[in-house]
Symmetry: C2
Subunit: 113 residues, 2 copies
């Protein structure tokens, strides 16, 4: 095959940025869970087994800042806060699932679950 | 939608591991370039614009340790060292390209190219 032009550094930078967000523990899993539909904070914490309130709160802020999730508040009582994927977040779900399948099949995990 | 079971922590761990490898600068680009066929060290350095010899050497070792690329040596003179994707590495290429497309379309890059 010839040495065709690739995505190049700009594309590499985009992938590195994606990884800087998704490479943190929980973030991929949170996006995956929200792929099943909007969730309240409490429902998310239950679905993402082992995460603390503070950590989940940090991660949700980070994902919102990156434009992957949105947060909506309904005045109560009780106040209801719901998290949902944005269109950008929704587009990521199948890619993340492909990557998860690839990683599970091809990478040796040292962590036991 | 109901709260179906997801990949869960084990799947999340696999994705985090994938990101720990691919989240480093150059690694995704190297895999992408090798997706076009085996390359010598010199050809790789030319294709991965801006990388130093030492950095490329480190990255190739890392990708080989993760089982994504293989290294073959033909006795010379001159000695010829060629790098190629393993089957695991080949399976990653389309996933990486999907992720690159998603990131380019959806993430705001602060780096100018």
């Amino acid at each position: 095959m010839d040495e065709r032009e690739h995505g190049g550094p700009a594309c590499d930078a985009a992938v590195v940025l994606a990884f800087s967000i998704l490479g943190k523990r929980w973030n991929g899993l949170i996006v995956d869970v929200l792929g099943g539909g909007p969730r309240s904070f409490v429902a998310l914490r239950r679905a993402v087994d082992g995460i603390s309130d503070a950590m989940l709160s940090d991660r949700l802020t980070e994902l919102a800042d990156a434009g992957l999730i949105s947060r909506s508040v309904e005045a109560g009582p009780p106040v209801a806060v719901t998290y949902a994927l944005t269109p950008a977040g929704q587009d990521l779900v199948p890619v993340l699932q492909d990557l998860g399948r690839w990683a599970s099949a091809n990478l040796a995990l040292s962590v036991e679950h």
